[in-house]
Symmetry: C2
Protein backbone atom coordinates (compact mmCIF):
# COMPACT_ATOMS: atom_id res chain seq x y z
CA UNK A 1 0.00 0.00 0.00
CA UNK A 2 1.24 3.41 -0.92
CA UNK A 3 1.94 5.95 1.80
CA UNK A 4 -0.79 8.45 2.61
CA UNK A 5 -0.16 11.83 1.12
CA UNK A 6 -0.45 13.80 4.36
CA UNK A 7 -1.71 16.85 2.50
CA UNK A 8 -3.23 19.82 4.22
CA UNK A 9 -6.63 20.85 2.94
CA UNK A 10 -5.49 24.08 1.35
CA UNK A 11 -2.13 25.37 0.15
CA UNK A 12 -0.02 26.53 3.08
CA UNK A 13 1.68 29.90 3.22
CA UNK A 14 4.92 28.18 2.30
CA UNK A 15 3.30 26.55 -0.68
CA UNK A 16 1.79 29.82 -1.85
CA UNK A 17 5.10 31.59 -1.57
CA UNK A 18 6.89 28.79 -3.36
CA UNK A 19 4.36 28.90 -6.19
CA UNK A 20 4.71 32.63 -6.50
CA UNK A 21 8.48 32.40 -6.67
CA UNK A 22 8.20 29.63 -9.22
CA UNK A 23 5.94 31.78 -11.38
CA UNK A 24 8.41 34.63 -11.28
CA UNK A 25 11.43 32.48 -11.99
CA UNK A 26 9.81 30.68 -14.90
CA UNK A 27 8.59 33.91 -16.39
CA UNK A 28 12.09 35.39 -16.17
CA UNK A 29 13.49 32.33 -17.89
CA UNK A 30 10.82 31.94 -20.50
CA UNK A 31 10.01 28.51 -19.08
CA UNK A 32 6.39 27.47 -19.21
CA UNK A 33 4.98 26.68 -15.80
CA UNK A 34 1.86 25.03 -17.14
CA UNK A 35 -1.23 24.09 -15.19
CA UNK A 36 -0.04 20.55 -14.68
CA UNK A 37 3.46 21.54 -13.62
CA UNK A 38 2.15 24.17 -11.23
CA UNK A 39 -0.24 21.67 -9.71
CA UNK A 40 2.49 19.10 -9.21
CA UNK A 41 4.64 21.71 -7.50
CA UNK A 42 1.69 22.65 -5.33
CA UNK A 43 1.08 19.03 -4.37
CA UNK A 44 4.70 18.64 -3.36
CA UNK A 45 4.66 21.81 -1.28
CA UNK A 46 1.35 20.87 0.34
CA UNK A 47 2.88 17.82 1.94
CA UNK A 48 4.80 17.92 5.20
CA UNK A 49 7.03 15.15 3.88
CA UNK A 50 8.54 14.41 0.47
CA UNK A 51 6.29 12.52 -1.92
CA UNK A 52 6.90 9.69 -4.33
CA UNK A 53 5.93 10.06 -7.97
CA UNK A 54 3.03 7.65 -7.65
CA UNK A 55 1.64 9.40 -4.61
CA UNK A 56 1.62 12.61 -6.62
CA UNK A 57 -0.09 10.73 -9.41
CA UNK A 58 -2.79 9.58 -7.00
CA UNK A 59 -3.47 13.17 -6.01
CA UNK A 60 -3.66 14.24 -9.65
CA UNK A 61 -6.22 11.54 -10.24
CA UNK A 62 -8.18 12.65 -7.18
CA UNK A 63 -8.21 16.06 -8.85
CA UNK A 64 -10.14 14.43 -11.65
CA UNK A 65 -7.27 14.66 -14.10
CA UNK A 66 -6.35 11.87 -16.38
CA UNK A 67 -2.82 10.73 -15.88
CA UNK A 68 -0.25 8.00 -16.10
CA UNK A 69 3.28 7.73 -14.76
CA UNK A 70 4.84 9.72 -17.63
CA UNK A 71 2.51 12.59 -16.82
CA UNK A 72 3.99 13.08 -13.41
CA UNK A 73 7.56 12.17 -14.29
CA UNK A 74 7.64 14.75 -17.06
CA UNK A 75 6.36 17.42 -14.73
CA UNK A 76 8.93 16.38 -12.15
CA UNK A 77 11.70 16.52 -14.77
CA UNK A 78 10.70 20.06 -15.62
CA UNK A 79 10.62 21.13 -11.97
CA UNK A 80 13.98 19.50 -11.35
CA UNK A 81 15.49 21.21 -14.38
CA UNK A 82 14.22 24.55 -13.11
CA UNK A 83 15.65 23.89 -9.67
CA UNK A 84 12.22 24.13 -8.08
CA UNK A 85 12.32 20.72 -6.44
CA UNK A 86 14.91 18.20 -5.28
CA UNK A 87 14.94 14.47 -5.65
CA UNK A 88 16.06 12.42 -2.68
CA UNK A 89 17.83 9.47 -4.22
CA UNK A 90 17.86 7.41 -1.06
CA UNK A 91 14.06 7.34 -0.87
CA UNK A 92 12.92 7.98 -4.44
CA UNK A 93 10.91 10.98 -3.34
CA UNK A 94 10.64 14.63 -4.27
CA UNK A 95 10.61 17.71 -2.07
CA UNK A 96 10.24 21.42 -2.69
CA UNK A 97 13.41 23.46 -2.96
CA UNK A 98 13.70 26.17 -0.31
CA UNK A 99 16.13 28.22 -2.35
CA UNK A 100 15.02 28.03 -5.97
CA UNK A 101 16.93 29.98 -8.52
CA UNK A 102 20.38 28.92 -7.39
CA UNK A 103 20.30 25.42 -8.91
CA UNK A 104 22.19 24.03 -5.97
CA UNK A 105 22.47 20.37 -5.10
CA UNK A 106 21.50 20.63 -1.48
CA UNK A 107 22.28 18.63 1.63
CA UNK A 108 19.47 16.86 3.39
CA UNK A 109 18.64 15.55 6.83
CA UNK A 110 15.94 12.95 6.51
CA UNK A 111 14.10 11.67 9.56
CA UNK A 112 13.44 7.96 9.37
CA UNK A 113 10.54 8.22 11.80
CA UNK A 114 8.46 11.21 10.72
CA UNK A 115 9.84 11.51 7.20
CA UNK A 116 10.43 15.23 7.45
CA UNK A 117 13.42 16.72 5.69
CA UNK A 118 15.62 19.69 6.49
CA UNK A 119 17.72 21.18 3.78
CA UNK A 120 21.19 22.24 4.85
CA UNK A 121 23.44 24.44 2.87
CA UNK A 122 26.90 24.29 4.29
CA UNK A 123 29.24 25.94 1.82
CA UNK A 124 32.28 24.49 3.56
CA UNK A 125 31.11 20.97 2.79
CA UNK A 126 30.57 21.95 -0.82
CA UNK A 127 34.01 23.52 -0.79
CA UNK A 128 35.66 20.41 0.62
CA UNK A 129 33.93 18.19 -1.88
CA UNK A 130 35.06 20.46 -4.66
CA UNK A 131 38.62 20.39 -3.34
CA UNK A 132 38.52 16.59 -3.38
CA UNK A 133 37.19 16.41 -6.89
CA UNK A 134 39.52 19.13 -8.16
CA UNK A 135 42.48 17.31 -6.71
CA UNK A 136 41.44 14.21 -8.63
CA UNK A 137 40.63 16.03 -11.85
CA UNK A 138 37.04 14.85 -11.56
CA UNK A 139 34.35 16.97 -13.18
CA UNK A 140 31.29 17.27 -10.96
CA UNK A 141 27.84 17.06 -12.51
CA UNK A 142 25.72 16.42 -9.44
CA UNK A 143 26.20 16.11 -5.71
CA UNK A 144 24.10 13.93 -3.47
CA UNK A 145 24.38 14.44 0.28
CA UNK A 146 21.65 12.79 2.31
CA UNK A 147 21.78 12.03 6.01
CA UNK A 148 19.29 9.51 7.26
CA UNK A 149 18.52 9.51 10.95
CA UNK A 150 16.13 10.75 13.60
CA UNK A 151 15.11 14.34 14.11
CA UNK A 152 15.03 16.03 17.53
CA UNK A 153 11.24 15.78 17.78
CA UNK A 154 11.22 12.05 17.15
CA UNK A 155 14.14 11.51 19.52
CA UNK A 156 11.99 12.85 22.33
CA UNK A 157 9.39 10.17 21.79
CA UNK A 158 9.78 6.62 23.03
CA UNK A 159 11.78 4.72 20.47
CA UNK A 160 9.64 3.13 17.87
CA UNK A 161 12.34 1.20 16.10
CA UNK A 162 14.91 -0.56 18.19
Amino acid sequence: MRQAADLSCSPSIDAQQALARAETLCQQRGARLTDLRRRVLEIIWSSATPLGAYTILDVLRDDGRQGAPPTVYRALDFLLAQGLIHRLASLNVFTGCRRPGSHHSGQFLICRDCGRVSELSNPVIDELLRAETDARGFEVLARIVEILGRCPDCLKEPTRHG
Copy 2:
Protein backbone atom coordinates in the same frame (compact mmCIF):
# COMPACT_ATOMS: atom_id res chain seq x y z
CA MET B 1 18.46 -4.60 -21.94
CA ARG B 2 20.44 -4.97 -18.79
CA GLN B 3 24.00 -3.68 -18.65
CA ALA B 4 26.76 -6.15 -19.45
CA ALA B 5 28.47 -7.43 -16.36
CA ASP B 6 31.98 -6.56 -17.49
CA LEU B 7 33.43 -9.42 -15.46
CA SER B 8 36.96 -10.60 -15.83
CA CYS B 9 37.34 -14.29 -16.44
CA SER B 10 38.87 -15.10 -13.07
CA PRO B 11 38.88 -13.37 -9.71
CA SER B 12 41.31 -10.48 -9.67
CA ILE B 13 43.92 -9.98 -6.99
CA ASP B 14 41.66 -7.35 -5.47
CA ALA B 15 38.75 -9.73 -5.42
CA GLN B 16 40.83 -12.47 -3.84
CA GLN B 17 42.08 -10.15 -1.13
CA ALA B 18 38.58 -8.84 -0.49
CA LEU B 19 37.26 -12.37 -0.15
CA ALA B 20 40.03 -13.30 2.23
CA ARG B 21 39.35 -10.26 4.41
CA ALA B 22 35.65 -11.03 4.34
CA GLU B 23 36.31 -14.57 5.51
CA THR B 24 38.40 -13.31 8.40
CA LEU B 25 35.94 -10.64 9.45
CA CYS B 26 32.95 -12.94 9.34
CA GLN B 27 34.78 -15.60 11.30
CA GLN B 28 35.71 -13.06 13.96
CA ARG B 29 32.10 -11.96 14.19
CA GLY B 30 30.52 -15.36 14.04
CA ALA B 31 28.74 -14.32 10.86
CA ARG B 32 28.20 -17.04 8.30
CA LEU B 33 29.72 -16.18 4.96
CA THR B 34 27.93 -18.93 3.11
CA ASP B 35 28.65 -20.17 -0.38
CA LEU B 36 26.00 -17.95 -1.91
CA ARG B 37 27.06 -14.85 -0.01
CA ARG B 38 30.72 -15.41 -0.83
CA ARG B 39 29.85 -15.88 -4.49
CA VAL B 40 27.83 -12.66 -4.59
CA LEU B 41 30.71 -10.79 -3.01
CA GLU B 42 33.05 -12.33 -5.56
CA ILE B 43 30.80 -11.31 -8.43
CA ILE B 44 30.72 -7.74 -7.17
CA TRP B 45 34.48 -7.61 -6.79
CA SER B 46 35.03 -9.18 -10.19
CA SER B 47 33.40 -6.25 -11.92
CA ALA B 48 35.21 -3.05 -12.77
CA THR B 49 32.01 -1.14 -12.14
CA PRO B 50 29.23 -1.48 -9.55
CA LEU B 51 26.54 -4.00 -10.39
CA GLY B 52 22.77 -3.95 -10.06
CA ALA B 53 21.01 -6.74 -8.20
CA TYR B 54 19.56 -8.21 -11.36
CA THR B 55 22.91 -8.26 -13.10
CA ILE B 56 24.27 -10.22 -10.16
CA LEU B 57 21.28 -12.52 -10.43
CA ASP B 58 22.08 -13.14 -14.09
CA VAL B 59 25.61 -14.19 -13.17
CA LEU B 60 24.33 -16.52 -10.47
CA ARG B 61 22.07 -18.14 -13.03
CA ASP B 62 24.98 -18.44 -15.45
CA ASP B 63 26.71 -20.29 -12.64
CA GLY B 64 23.93 -22.83 -12.90
CA ARG B 65 22.38 -21.83 -9.60
CA GLN B 66 18.71 -21.53 -9.11
CA GLY B 67 17.73 -18.09 -7.99
CA ALA B 68 15.16 -15.37 -7.83
CA PRO B 69 15.39 -11.72 -6.76
CA PRO B 70 15.12 -12.49 -3.03
CA THR B 71 18.12 -14.77 -3.36
CA VAL B 72 20.38 -11.95 -4.34
CA TYR B 73 18.77 -9.24 -2.22
CA ARG B 74 19.18 -11.34 0.89
CA ALA B 75 22.81 -11.92 0.15
CA LEU B 76 23.26 -8.21 -0.51
CA ASP B 77 21.55 -7.35 2.77
CA PHE B 78 23.96 -9.60 4.61
CA LEU B 79 27.00 -8.10 2.89
CA LEU B 80 25.72 -4.58 3.58
CA ALA B 81 25.13 -5.42 7.24
CA GLN B 82 28.68 -6.74 7.50
CA GLY B 83 30.05 -3.62 5.85
CA LEU B 84 31.56 -5.66 3.03
CA ILE B 85 29.80 -3.76 0.25
CA HIS B 86 28.22 -0.37 -0.30
CA ARG B 87 25.00 0.51 -2.04
CA LEU B 88 25.03 3.53 -4.32
CA ALA B 89 21.58 4.99 -3.89
CA SER B 90 21.82 7.24 -6.91
CA LEU B 91 22.25 4.29 -9.27
CA ASN B 92 20.76 1.34 -7.40
CA VAL B 93 24.00 -0.57 -7.64
CA PHE B 94 26.40 -2.30 -5.31
CA THR B 95 30.16 -2.06 -5.03
CA GLY B 96 32.79 -3.71 -2.88
CA CYS B 97 33.95 -1.86 0.19
CA ARG B 98 37.63 -1.02 0.19
CA ARG B 99 37.81 -0.69 3.97
CA PRO B 100 35.63 -3.40 5.42
CA GLY B 101 35.47 -3.72 9.16
CA SER B 102 34.93 -0.06 9.90
CA HIS B 103 31.26 0.06 8.93
CA HIS B 104 31.69 3.51 7.46
CA SER B 105 29.27 5.19 5.11
CA GLY B 106 31.76 6.22 2.47
CA GLN B 107 31.93 9.02 -0.04
CA PHE B 108 31.84 8.16 -3.70
CA LEU B 109 32.91 9.65 -7.00
CA ILE B 110 30.90 8.02 -9.76
CA CYS B 111 31.85 8.49 -13.39
CA ARG B 112 28.83 8.89 -15.59
CA ASP B 113 30.76 7.74 -18.66
CA CYS B 114 32.74 4.67 -17.62
CA GLY B 115 30.75 3.87 -14.48
CA ARG B 116 33.82 3.43 -12.33
CA VAL B 117 33.67 4.52 -8.72
CA SER B 118 36.30 5.87 -6.37
CA GLU B 119 35.70 5.74 -2.68
CA LEU B 120 36.84 8.81 -0.77
CA SER B 121 37.22 8.97 2.92
CA ASN B 122 37.61 12.57 3.97
CA PRO B 123 37.27 12.71 7.73
CA VAL B 124 36.82 16.48 7.64
CA ILE B 125 33.65 16.10 5.61
CA ASP B 126 32.39 13.51 8.06
CA GLU B 127 33.33 15.86 10.87
CA LEU B 128 31.48 18.79 9.32
CA LEU B 129 28.41 16.70 8.72
CA ARG B 130 28.50 15.53 12.30
CA ALA B 131 28.84 19.11 13.51
CA GLU B 132 25.76 20.06 11.50
CA THR B 133 23.71 17.18 12.79
CA ASP B 134 24.92 17.62 16.36
CA ALA B 135 24.00 21.30 16.26
CA ARG B 136 20.49 20.29 15.24
CA GLY B 137 20.16 17.45 17.68
CA PHE B 138 19.75 15.05 14.79
CA GLU B 139 20.81 11.44 15.32
CA VAL B 140 22.65 10.06 12.29
CA LEU B 141 21.93 6.54 11.14
CA ALA B 142 23.41 6.62 7.64
CA ARG B 143 25.27 9.05 5.45
CA ILE B 144 25.01 9.13 1.70
CA VAL B 145 27.58 11.18 -0.19
CA GLU B 146 27.71 10.51 -3.91
CA ILE B 147 29.27 12.75 -6.52
CA LEU B 148 28.22 12.08 -10.07
CA GLY B 149 30.48 13.39 -12.82
CA ARG B 150 33.26 12.48 -15.19
CA CYS B 151 36.55 10.93 -14.21
CA PRO B 152 39.93 12.18 -15.49
CA ASP B 153 40.25 9.31 -17.97
CA CYS B 154 36.90 10.01 -19.57
CA LEU B 155 37.56 13.75 -19.61
CA LYS B 156 40.53 13.09 -21.90
CA GLU B 157 38.34 11.47 -24.50
CA PRO B 158 36.19 13.43 -26.90
CA THR B 159 32.93 14.23 -25.16
CA ARG B 160 30.33 11.58 -25.62
CA HIS B 161 27.47 13.38 -23.99
CA GLY B 162 27.17 17.04 -24.77
